[in-house]
Amino acid sequence: MIISIASGKGGTGKTTIACNMAVSIGHDVQLLDCDVEEPNAHLFLHPIIDNIKTITTPVPIVDEEKCDLCGKCVEICQFKAIVILGDTILPFHDLCHSCGGCELVCPVKAITETGRELGEIEEGHLDGLQFVHGRLRIGEAMSPPLIKKVRTYCDADKLAIIDAPPGTSCPVIAAMKGTDFVLLVTEPTPFGLYDLKLAVGAVKILGIPCGLVINRSDIGDDKVMEYAKETGIPVLMEIPFERKIAEAYSRGDLIVEIMPEWKNKFQELYEAIKAIVY
């Protein structure tokens, strides 16, 4: 089973939920941190890294000897990633989406592909937990291809927990698509609710069952709870605001480390999700 943890709004507690749940289950579990722009799960889990891999995406290089400047590559490219300037053909690797169109369309086979670095994938472990995260290269604009690469580490025999990036556009979709359940972490504030509604919209488009965790459940108003009731989205966990939890988080400690009684609650959360999915 694959559970993705998403939120719409940033900073609601996705990583907290993902890490505490993974550690509470403890065995046959993977944590895949797909927030490749700002991966944080490793700061709480301190996994032993066994393997680091550089991930690239194909981009064109042009053999100027062969190129006769016919312009067919410029025409097919939807992303303005290859242009003719005077008598030079110029690929812009940062803009390239790696569709391969220019190479396919070149009548004189002047285009081959090299790689643009997207970032790194680090793989590691912590007791019975397998850990994988992606780390987007600074300056790289496109995170979905790296997120999809992290997703390929999902092991069908294990529970995979995916820590998704915030937002509701392509990076989140890449992290949630094809997962069995989306756990949406929100807070009971106007920003939390507004962004939650957007996130639910994204989950609906993908047709995945979802449930809510309301974090800092007593800091705001009742509107998130009312919304959950109206829409029939189950509230699977509420975590009240406690300075102790906030301080533990700030140090990089897990809730289950400082309050072991929460381990049961995270296991129950997993059981509740299983009951919905199966």
Binding site: G167, P171, P190, R243
Partner: protein, 291 residues
């Protein structure tokens, strides 16, 4: 024309609450909500929309079944595995590259433009706001960010306004990169947590990569004073000005629920005073005050 972009790397550190507070302190500015993915500034500013425009960007492939001869060329060439079992294009996977459209021997693939959202020019009690709504699950957020920043700039120039305050998106990817180019400076709002510090360093690297001057302020500083000191020490070591500390204050949430900025909600609170000091420091640094 000066533009200050508020970013954070990590989400939820208080960017939007801080921009809203700045809006109530500054007298002459254009506000720009560049977090088009999950735009929240309007929830405090209650904008009256004056102009609305569709955001059209990119194309998507659609196979016309009556023309399709199921030759599978599109499927073989598509690098996104977007061609489904029944020769329908998975619109979520389709990158809009047009390779299938070009190579289809039957010209059976249509390639219409995408309607990806809307952008707005609005009036608020704190002056004009340019904002947008990217449709859920859409791409091209960077392009939309570029459009609304350009529109904000034009609006400011037309009205002789010398300052743009831009609420940036979280992360370091496409929309953040689109938020930075040409900015006068970025203010990184960081929380004193291991995540906050880690993410600040990455977004700072991004600002350095694009040679945009960066400043730092620590929000909820008293949640972990050790982390706050580490962030400030790191800033000093890296020639990065740490221009203030804002205490942890539940009144931010209360203000948000009432649709107010923290300054409007309680002008005398410690947090409001801290934000005023930060704002004054920004005014001095960038000569924002009107003479």
């Amino acid at each position: 024309m000066k533009e200050l972009v508020i970013i954070s790397g990590k989400g939820g550190t208080g960017k939007t609450s801080l921009v809203a507070a700045f809006a109530s302190l500054s007298s002459n500015h254009v506000l720009c909500d560049a977090d088009v993915d999950a735009a929240d500034l309007h929830l405090i500013l209650d904008p009256q929309i004056k102009k609305q425009q569709d955001f059209i960007s990119g194309n998507s492939a659609f196979i016309e079944n009556e023309k399709c001869i199921q030759c599978d060329i599109c499927r073989d060439l598509c690098r996104w595995d977007a061609i489904g079992a029944n020769y329908e294009v998975d619109q979520i996977e389709c990158e809009g590259c047009g390779v299938c459209v070009h190579f289809c021997p039957e010209q059976a693939i249509a390639f219409p433009e995408n309607h990806c959202g809307e952008w707005f020019i609005s009036e608020t009690r704190f002056g004009p706001l340019v904002h947008a709504r990217l449709k859920i699950a859409e791409e091209n957020s960077g392009k939309l960010v570029s459009i609304i920043r350009q529109e904000s700039k034009t609006l400011a120039e037309e009205n002789n306004i010398d300052l743009m305050l831009t609420d940036g998106p979280p992360g370091i990817g496409c929309p953040v990169i689109a938020s930075l180019g040409g900015a006068t400076a970025v203010l990184i709002v960081v929380e004193p947590t291991v995540s906050g510090k880690h993410d600040m360093k990455r977004v700072l690297q991004l600002a350095n990569h694009f040679k945009i001057p960066a400043l730092v302020c620590v929000n909820k500083f008293d949640l972990n004073i050790e982390q706050t000191l580490e962030i400030e020490a790191f800033s000093q070591k890296n020639n990065l000005d740490a221009i203030g500390r804002i205490p942890f204050d539940p009144q931010f949430t209360k203000a948000m629920i009432e649709g107010k900025t923290i300054i409007e909600f309680n002008n005398n609170s410690e947090s409001s005073q801290a934000i005023r000091d930060i704002w004054k420091s920004l005014e001095d640094r960038f000569q924002l005050r009107e003479v």
